[in-house]
Amino acid sequence: MPLTVYGTELSSRLLLGTAQYPSPAILSEAAKSSGASVVTVSLRREGIQGETGGRFWSLVRELGLRVLPNTAGCHTVKEAVTTAKMAREVFGTNWIKLEVIGHHDTLQPDVFGLVEAARILTEDGFAVFPYTTEDLVVGERLIEAGCEVLMPWCAPIGSAKGPVNLDALRAYRAHFPDTSLIVDAGLGRPSHAAAVMELGFDGVLLNTAVAKAGNPAAMAIAFAQAVEAGHAAYGAGILEPRDMAVPSTPVIGKAVFS
């Protein structure tokens, strides 16, 4: 069954960022190779000539994918809310990846500001995709604020560490069985994506691991396959680890030679 968020069915469980690619052409190639149905974008100050944003926006529109604007770099509720409103107008979507950054070095979300901004934006008609931690109470508050999707990190943004706290992510999935959960930030390699999908997460959002790969388009394919493999494995029912060895070949009927 496809992933559905805010009433929209997505053809892929991989959401891809558009930053840090070696060139626009490589970004375009990677996005197409990934099979992603959603790409994230941002808003930044335009230069005097006013051409930079227009060129990028044309490239994104040519991809034909749904866009998820972010509020990256916002450190206050006010900044995030204003940026979200500006993004809604420019990109023509009420979807917003809500980031309220609480710490310059770790880029850890300010979860208090996040919940407040989420409430303001959902009341204003936004479909909020909150970048959060794996804290269960914060997740509950975000749902109360109107979020239908939660996006916990698995490690700091751009760190490529992969899931540093699998137990917390497992608990998160168990605690929110009916909410779409997308792991956002910290994935470094396809096996990381497979690991969180095997826990039952509904999707992953990543950027740096693909953009900074030696061959971004090839890595995008690898991630797409890992996401699908992890999702299929979760659906198939994964064998839990056992403390003792258990022979896989039948013991009954074994020949006796002594």
Binding site: A19, Q20, G50, G54, T82, M86, E89
Partner: protein
């Protein structure tokens, strides 16, 4: 009148936000604007008058994660 546009001090003859956009050559539809941290929709740029010292933000699409 002196304005702060995208963090840069600027001397402008524009009376409205719409006139400022024209003055700066921003004619496409891929811009979003804010004055003093408040979002100003494109449909209101004609009516919104600028004041001395206003902080104007003009944002456009950019790569993002």
């Amino acid at each position: 009148m002196k304005l702060i546009v995208n963090g840069q001090a600027l001397e402008s003859q524009a009376r409205t936000l719409s006139e400022l956009m024209t003055e700066l050559g921003h004619t496409g539809n891929w811009f979003a604007t804010a004055i003093n941290s408040e979002f100003v929709p494109g449909s209101e740029r004609n009516e919104v008058r600028l004041s001395e010292g206003d902080r104007v933000e003009i944002l456009t699409p950019r790569q993002g994660g």
